[in-house]
Protein backbone atom coordinates (compact mmCIF):
# COMPACT_ATOMS: atom_id res chain seq x y z
CA UNK A 1 0.00 0.00 0.00
CA UNK A 2 2.75 2.40 1.03
CA UNK A 3 4.58 1.66 -2.19
CA UNK A 4 1.48 2.40 -4.22
CA UNK A 5 0.95 5.74 -2.44
CA UNK A 6 4.54 6.75 -3.01
CA UNK A 7 4.08 5.99 -6.66
CA UNK A 8 0.97 8.15 -6.82
CA UNK A 9 2.87 11.11 -5.43
CA UNK A 10 5.72 10.43 -7.78
CA UNK A 11 3.40 10.59 -10.76
CA UNK A 12 1.83 13.76 -9.34
CA UNK A 13 5.21 15.39 -9.00
CA UNK A 14 5.98 14.44 -12.56
CA UNK A 15 2.69 15.85 -13.84
CA UNK A 16 2.85 19.05 -11.79
CA UNK A 17 5.34 21.04 -13.92
CA UNK A 18 2.97 20.63 -16.88
CA UNK A 19 0.99 23.81 -17.56
CA UNK A 20 -2.47 23.75 -16.07
CA UNK A 21 -4.03 24.17 -19.51
CA UNK A 22 -2.80 20.75 -20.45
CA UNK A 23 -4.28 19.12 -17.38
CA UNK A 24 -7.73 20.62 -18.00
CA UNK A 25 -9.84 19.58 -20.93
CA UNK A 26 -9.48 22.19 -23.66
CA UNK A 27 -12.30 24.76 -23.45
CA UNK A 28 -11.29 27.18 -26.19
CA UNK A 29 -8.88 26.58 -28.97
CA UNK A 30 -7.59 28.09 -32.16
CA UNK A 31 -7.01 24.68 -33.65
CA UNK A 32 -9.49 24.03 -36.45
CA UNK A 33 -11.98 21.28 -35.87
CA UNK A 34 -10.51 18.10 -37.25
CA UNK A 35 -12.49 16.98 -40.25
CA UNK A 36 -12.15 14.59 -43.06
CA UNK A 37 -13.32 15.10 -46.59
CA UNK A 38 -14.82 11.77 -47.44
CA UNK A 39 -14.97 12.41 -51.14
CA UNK A 40 -13.77 15.64 -52.75
CA UNK A 41 -15.92 15.07 -55.80
CA UNK A 42 -19.00 14.48 -53.66
CA UNK A 43 -18.29 17.68 -51.75
CA UNK A 44 -17.96 19.69 -54.95
CA UNK A 45 -21.19 18.25 -56.21
CA UNK A 46 -22.98 19.24 -53.02
CA UNK A 47 -21.88 22.85 -53.03
CA UNK A 48 -22.36 23.19 -56.77
CA UNK A 49 -25.89 22.01 -56.19
CA UNK A 50 -26.46 24.70 -53.58
CA UNK A 51 -24.96 27.40 -55.80
CA UNK A 52 -27.09 26.26 -58.72
CA UNK A 53 -30.18 26.45 -56.56
CA UNK A 54 -29.36 30.04 -55.54
CA UNK A 55 -28.62 31.04 -59.13
CA UNK A 56 -31.84 29.47 -60.36
CA UNK A 57 -33.86 31.24 -57.68
CA UNK A 58 -32.31 34.58 -58.58
CA UNK A 59 -32.79 33.98 -62.32
CA UNK A 60 -36.47 33.23 -61.80
CA UNK A 61 -36.78 36.25 -59.48
CA UNK A 62 -38.17 34.06 -56.69
CA UNK A 63 -35.68 35.14 -54.05
CA UNK A 64 -38.11 37.60 -52.44
CA UNK A 65 -36.89 40.50 -50.39
CA UNK A 66 -33.13 40.76 -50.02
CA UNK A 67 -31.16 42.32 -47.21
CA UNK A 68 -27.53 43.36 -47.16
CA UNK A 69 -24.90 44.38 -44.66
CA UNK A 70 -23.00 47.34 -46.06
CA UNK A 71 -19.88 49.00 -44.78
CA UNK A 72 -20.21 52.77 -44.72
CA UNK A 73 -18.11 55.40 -42.94
CA UNK A 74 -16.40 52.75 -40.84
CA UNK A 75 -19.68 51.29 -39.65
CA UNK A 76 -21.77 48.36 -40.78
CA UNK A 77 -25.49 48.65 -41.36
CA UNK A 78 -28.02 45.96 -42.13
CA UNK A 79 -30.40 47.32 -44.74
CA UNK A 80 -33.20 46.21 -46.96
CA UNK A 81 -35.14 48.03 -49.65
CA UNK A 82 -36.97 51.11 -48.38
CA UNK A 83 -34.88 51.48 -45.23
CA UNK A 84 -33.66 54.81 -43.93
CA UNK A 85 -30.46 55.12 -41.97
CA UNK A 86 -28.22 57.89 -40.70
CA UNK A 87 -24.52 58.30 -41.36
CA UNK A 88 -22.84 60.39 -38.69
CA UNK A 89 -19.86 62.68 -39.12
CA UNK A 90 -18.55 64.62 -42.08
CA UNK A 91 -19.45 62.80 -45.29
CA UNK A 92 -19.21 64.46 -48.71
CA UNK A 93 -22.36 63.28 -50.59
CA UNK A 94 -25.03 65.99 -50.72
CA UNK A 95 -28.81 65.95 -50.58
CA UNK A 96 -30.40 64.43 -53.65
CA UNK A 97 -27.34 62.38 -54.64
CA UNK A 98 -27.94 58.83 -55.71
CA UNK A 99 -25.05 56.62 -54.71
CA UNK A 100 -24.24 52.95 -54.91
CA UNK A 101 -22.92 51.28 -51.77
CA UNK A 102 -20.11 49.03 -52.99
CA UNK A 103 -18.74 47.53 -49.82
CA UNK A 104 -21.24 44.75 -49.34
CA UNK A 105 -20.29 42.34 -46.58
CA UNK A 106 -23.29 40.05 -46.76
CA UNK A 107 -26.43 39.54 -48.80
CA UNK A 108 -29.31 37.41 -47.72
CA UNK A 109 -32.70 36.33 -48.89
CA UNK A 110 -35.40 34.15 -47.42
CA UNK A 111 -33.62 30.91 -48.34
CA UNK A 112 -29.96 31.77 -48.69
CA UNK A 113 -27.17 33.96 -47.40
CA UNK A 114 -24.07 35.00 -49.29
CA UNK A 115 -21.29 35.83 -46.86
CA UNK A 116 -18.34 37.88 -48.14
CA UNK A 117 -14.76 37.18 -47.11
CA UNK A 118 -14.73 40.06 -46.23
CA UNK A 119 -16.59 41.51 -49.20
CA UNK A 120 -19.04 39.85 -51.52
CA UNK A 121 -17.61 39.45 -55.03
CA UNK A 122 -17.53 42.80 -56.79
CA UNK A 123 -20.34 43.35 -59.27
CA UNK A 124 -22.50 40.57 -57.84
CA UNK A 125 -24.78 42.79 -55.80
CA UNK A 126 -26.00 46.31 -56.38
CA UNK A 127 -27.11 48.39 -53.42
CA UNK A 128 -28.35 51.85 -54.34
CA UNK A 129 -29.31 54.65 -52.00
CA UNK A 130 -30.44 58.28 -52.16
CA UNK A 131 -29.27 60.99 -49.80
CA UNK A 132 -32.51 62.53 -48.53
CA UNK A 133 -31.36 64.81 -45.80
CA UNK A 134 -28.27 66.47 -44.44
CA UNK A 135 -28.65 68.02 -41.05
CA UNK A 136 -27.03 68.49 -37.66
CA UNK A 137 -27.76 66.42 -34.59
CA UNK A 138 -29.13 67.90 -31.37
CA UNK A 139 -26.61 69.90 -29.36
CA UNK A 140 -24.43 67.51 -27.43
CA UNK A 141 -22.72 68.76 -24.28
CA UNK A 142 -19.15 67.69 -23.79
CA UNK A 143 -18.29 68.36 -20.17
CA UNK A 144 -14.97 67.49 -18.56
CA UNK A 145 -14.01 67.92 -14.93
CA UNK A 146 -11.08 66.81 -12.82
CA UNK A 147 -11.68 66.76 -9.15
CA UNK A 148 -9.50 68.95 -6.87
CA UNK A 149 -7.51 70.19 -9.87
CA UNK A 150 -9.38 73.40 -10.73
CA UNK A 151 -10.07 71.96 -14.16
CA UNK A 152 -13.40 72.20 -15.90
CA UNK A 153 -14.21 72.48 -19.61
CA UNK A 154 -17.51 72.61 -21.37
CA UNK A 155 -17.96 72.29 -25.10
CA UNK A 156 -21.06 72.06 -27.21
CA UNK A 157 -21.17 70.27 -30.52
CA UNK A 158 -23.57 69.28 -33.22
CA UNK A 159 -22.58 66.29 -35.32
CA UNK A 160 -23.36 66.35 -39.06
CA UNK A 161 -25.89 63.67 -39.92
CA UNK A 162 -26.69 62.39 -43.41
CA UNK A 163 -29.87 60.42 -43.97
CA UNK A 164 -29.94 57.76 -46.66
CA UNK A 165 -32.85 55.92 -48.24
CA UNK A 166 -32.03 52.51 -49.68
CA UNK A 167 -33.68 52.24 -53.09
CA UNK A 168 -32.55 48.95 -54.47
CA UNK A 169 -30.81 45.75 -53.47
CA UNK A 170 -30.36 43.39 -56.35
CA UNK A 171 -28.22 40.43 -57.28
CA UNK A 172 -27.07 41.25 -60.79
CA UNK A 173 -24.29 38.74 -61.34
CA UNK A 174 -24.11 35.01 -60.93
CA UNK A 175 -22.96 33.40 -57.71
CA UNK A 176 -19.52 31.76 -57.96
CA UNK A 177 -19.07 32.99 -61.51
CA UNK A 178 -16.82 36.04 -61.32
CA UNK A 179 -15.98 37.95 -64.48
CA UNK A 180 -12.56 37.25 -66.03
CA UNK A 181 -11.32 40.77 -65.34
CA UNK A 182 -12.23 42.42 -62.07
CA UNK A 183 -11.57 45.84 -60.64
CA UNK A 184 -12.63 47.78 -63.74
CA UNK A 185 -16.03 48.80 -62.38
CA UNK A 186 -14.70 51.91 -60.71
CA UNK A 187 -12.18 52.95 -63.34
CA UNK A 188 -12.85 55.69 -65.86
CA UNK A 189 -11.03 55.28 -69.16
Amino acid sequence: MAGALRKIFATFARSYPKPVAQLLPRLYSNVPTPYEIVDAQEERKTYQDVIDKVNRQVAQAKQGRLFAVVHIQGKQVKVTEGDVFVVEGYWPPGAGDRISLDKVLLVGGRDFTLVGRPLVQRGLVQVEATVIEETLSHTKTHFKKKRRKQYMRINFMRVPQTMLRVNRIEIVGEVNHPSDVTGLETRVF
Binding site: T80, G82, F85, E88, R110, T130, V131, L136, S137, T139
Partner: protein, 183 residues
Protein backbone atom coordinates in the same frame (compact mmCIF):
# COMPACT_ATOMS: atom_id res chain seq x y z
CA UNK B 1 -21.05 63.90 -21.60
CA UNK B 2 -23.87 65.32 -19.62
CA UNK B 3 -27.36 63.97 -19.51
CA UNK B 4 -29.15 67.18 -20.41
CA UNK B 5 -30.09 65.74 -23.78
CA UNK B 6 -32.47 63.25 -22.17
CA UNK B 7 -34.88 66.07 -21.44
CA UNK B 8 -34.96 67.04 -25.12
CA UNK B 9 -37.85 66.15 -27.31
CA UNK B 10 -36.92 62.82 -28.87
CA UNK B 11 -38.23 60.41 -31.44
CA UNK B 12 -37.44 58.26 -34.41
CA UNK B 13 -36.42 59.01 -37.99
CA UNK B 14 -39.21 60.73 -39.88
CA UNK B 15 -39.17 61.20 -43.60
CA UNK B 16 -41.84 63.45 -45.04
CA UNK B 17 -43.98 61.73 -47.69
CA UNK B 18 -41.55 58.88 -48.43
CA UNK B 19 -38.90 61.25 -49.68
CA UNK B 20 -36.31 59.53 -51.86
CA UNK B 21 -38.39 56.49 -52.74
CA UNK B 22 -39.09 57.73 -56.25
CA UNK B 23 -37.04 60.88 -56.34
CA UNK B 24 -35.64 63.42 -53.93
CA UNK B 25 -37.70 66.53 -53.23
CA UNK B 26 -36.08 69.54 -51.57
CA UNK B 27 -38.03 70.19 -48.38
CA UNK B 28 -37.19 73.88 -48.03
CA UNK B 29 -40.14 75.90 -49.22
CA UNK B 30 -39.40 79.51 -48.51
CA UNK B 31 -36.50 81.50 -47.13
CA UNK B 32 -36.47 85.13 -46.00
CA UNK B 33 -33.18 86.98 -45.63
CA UNK B 34 -33.64 89.96 -43.32
CA UNK B 35 -30.88 92.54 -43.04
CA UNK B 36 -30.05 96.20 -42.55
CA UNK B 37 -28.70 98.26 -45.42
CA UNK B 38 -26.13 100.16 -43.39
CA UNK B 39 -25.49 98.38 -40.10
CA UNK B 40 -22.10 96.64 -39.82
CA UNK B 41 -23.54 93.41 -38.45
CA UNK B 42 -25.29 92.86 -41.77
CA UNK B 43 -22.17 93.26 -43.87
CA UNK B 44 -21.73 89.56 -44.61
CA UNK B 45 -25.38 89.25 -45.45
CA UNK B 46 -25.22 92.19 -47.88
CA UNK B 47 -22.15 90.68 -49.56
CA UNK B 48 -23.95 87.37 -49.86
CA UNK B 49 -26.97 89.03 -51.42
CA UNK B 50 -24.77 90.88 -53.90
CA UNK B 51 -22.61 87.98 -55.01
CA UNK B 52 -24.12 84.56 -54.28
CA UNK B 53 -27.84 84.86 -53.87
CA UNK B 54 -28.59 84.83 -57.59
CA UNK B 55 -26.75 81.54 -58.01
CA UNK B 56 -28.51 80.03 -55.01
CA UNK B 57 -31.90 80.96 -56.40
CA UNK B 58 -30.94 79.68 -59.86
CA UNK B 59 -29.73 76.34 -58.52
CA UNK B 60 -32.81 75.86 -56.35
CA UNK B 61 -35.85 76.74 -58.41
CA UNK B 62 -38.10 75.05 -55.84
CA UNK B 63 -37.17 77.50 -53.09
CA UNK B 64 -38.82 80.91 -52.84
CA UNK B 65 -36.33 83.55 -51.71
CA UNK B 66 -37.45 86.82 -50.16
CA UNK B 67 -35.25 89.76 -49.17
CA UNK B 68 -36.43 91.99 -46.37
CA UNK B 69 -34.32 95.08 -45.66
CA UNK B 70 -35.12 96.68 -42.32
CA UNK B 71 -33.35 99.50 -40.60
CA UNK B 72 -31.07 98.99 -37.62
CA UNK B 73 -31.96 95.39 -36.96
CA UNK B 74 -29.69 92.33 -36.81
CA UNK B 75 -29.55 90.07 -39.88
CA UNK B 76 -31.62 86.90 -39.76
CA UNK B 77 -32.45 83.95 -42.01
CA UNK B 78 -35.95 82.63 -41.56
CA UNK B 79 -36.80 79.37 -43.32
CA UNK B 80 -40.10 77.57 -43.82
CA UNK B 81 -40.27 73.89 -44.68
CA UNK B 82 -42.84 71.81 -46.52
CA UNK B 83 -43.89 70.12 -43.28
CA UNK B 84 -44.80 73.50 -41.75
CA UNK B 85 -41.70 73.86 -39.59
CA UNK B 86 -40.11 77.25 -39.29
CA UNK B 87 -36.48 77.84 -38.44
CA UNK B 88 -34.79 81.07 -37.57
CA UNK B 89 -31.02 81.59 -37.75
CA UNK B 90 -29.44 84.70 -36.33
CA UNK B 91 -26.63 85.91 -38.62
CA UNK B 92 -25.19 88.70 -36.50
CA UNK B 93 -21.68 89.53 -37.79
CA UNK B 94 -21.64 86.43 -40.01
CA UNK B 95 -19.34 86.41 -42.99
CA UNK B 96 -20.50 85.67 -46.52
CA UNK B 97 -19.20 82.10 -46.24
CA UNK B 98 -20.98 81.50 -42.94
CA UNK B 99 -24.28 82.58 -44.40
CA UNK B 100 -23.74 80.43 -47.46
CA UNK B 101 -23.08 77.44 -45.21
CA UNK B 102 -26.13 77.97 -43.00
CA UNK B 103 -28.38 78.55 -45.98
CA UNK B 104 -27.11 75.33 -47.51
CA UNK B 105 -27.86 73.48 -44.29
CA UNK B 106 -31.42 74.81 -44.30
CA UNK B 107 -31.78 73.70 -47.91
CA UNK B 108 -30.78 70.11 -47.15
CA UNK B 109 -32.82 69.75 -43.98
CA UNK B 110 -36.33 68.35 -44.04
CA UNK B 111 -37.62 70.36 -41.08
CA UNK B 112 -36.48 72.12 -37.98
CA UNK B 113 -34.28 69.53 -36.28
CA UNK B 114 -32.89 71.72 -33.51
CA UNK B 115 -33.77 70.39 -30.09
CA UNK B 116 -34.84 66.99 -31.39
CA UNK B 117 -32.91 63.89 -30.42
CA UNK B 118 -32.97 60.82 -32.65
CA UNK B 119 -33.47 57.67 -30.60
CA UNK B 120 -32.38 55.33 -33.37
CA UNK B 121 -30.19 55.97 -36.37
CA UNK B 122 -32.05 53.39 -38.46
CA UNK B 123 -35.57 52.75 -39.54
CA UNK B 124 -36.91 49.65 -41.26
CA UNK B 125 -40.35 48.31 -42.07
CA UNK B 126 -38.95 44.78 -42.41
CA UNK B 127 -36.96 44.04 -39.28
CA UNK B 128 -36.30 40.41 -40.18
CA UNK B 129 -36.24 38.56 -43.48
CA UNK B 130 -35.03 35.11 -42.48
CA UNK B 131 -37.09 35.15 -39.27
CA UNK B 132 -35.97 36.37 -35.87
CA UNK B 133 -33.63 34.25 -33.77
CA UNK B 134 -35.18 32.12 -31.05
CA UNK B 135 -33.50 29.85 -28.50
CA UNK B 136 -34.55 26.91 -30.69
CA UNK B 137 -32.94 28.07 -33.94
CA UNK B 138 -30.01 25.88 -34.98
CA UNK B 139 -30.88 23.32 -32.31
CA UNK B 140 -31.18 19.59 -32.91
CA UNK B 141 -34.86 18.86 -33.63
CA UNK B 142 -34.52 15.61 -31.69
CA UNK B 143 -34.61 17.73 -28.56
CA UNK B 144 -38.26 18.46 -29.26
CA UNK B 145 -39.09 14.83 -28.52
CA UNK B 146 -36.98 14.49 -25.39
CA UNK B 147 -38.79 13.67 -22.19
CA UNK B 148 -38.03 15.52 -19.01
CA UNK B 149 -36.54 15.12 -16.46
CA UNK B 150 -33.68 14.04 -18.64
CA UNK B 151 -30.31 13.32 -17.03
CA UNK B 152 -28.41 13.55 -20.31
CA UNK B 153 -29.76 16.99 -21.25
CA UNK B 154 -29.66 18.35 -17.70
CA UNK B 155 -25.91 17.87 -17.41
CA UNK B 156 -23.68 20.92 -17.76
CA UNK B 157 -22.21 21.22 -21.24
CA UNK B 158 -18.65 21.36 -19.99
CA UNK B 159 -17.92 19.31 -16.91
CA UNK B 160 -14.42 19.45 -15.57
CA UNK B 161 -12.82 16.48 -13.87
CA UNK B 162 -12.86 16.73 -10.09
CA UNK B 163 -9.67 16.28 -8.09
CA UNK B 164 -11.04 12.97 -6.75
CA UNK B 165 -11.57 11.69 -10.28
CA UNK B 166 -8.08 12.69 -11.21
CA UNK B 167 -6.57 10.97 -8.17
CA UNK B 168 -8.57 7.84 -8.85
CA UNK B 169 -7.40 7.81 -12.43
CA UNK B 170 -3.78 8.08 -11.41
CA UNK B 171 -4.29 5.43 -8.72
CA UNK B 172 -5.79 3.04 -11.26
CA UNK B 173 -3.03 3.63 -13.78
CA UNK B 174 -0.43 3.01 -11.10
CA UNK B 175 -2.16 -0.20 -10.11
CA UNK B 176 -2.15 -1.36 -13.69
CA UNK B 177 1.54 -0.60 -14.02
CA UNK B 178 2.13 -2.38 -10.65
CA UNK B 179 0.41 -5.46 -11.96
CA UNK B 180 2.46 -5.31 -15.12
CA UNK B 181 5.56 -5.08 -12.99
CA UNK B 182 4.52 -8.14 -11.00
CA UNK B 183 3.97 -10.13 -14.13
Amino acid sequence: MSNSHIFLKSGFIRTPSQNGVGRYVCQLQRVVLKFCKNNGSSRGMREFVESELINFAKNNPGVVVYLKPRRHRAPVISAEFLNGDKQWVSCHNYSKQDISKWLNLLRTQSGNTTGFRLRKLQHTDHPSIQGPWTPYTFKDPAENLAEYPNTELSKPKIQLKTATDELLEIFNSVQISDKKGVE
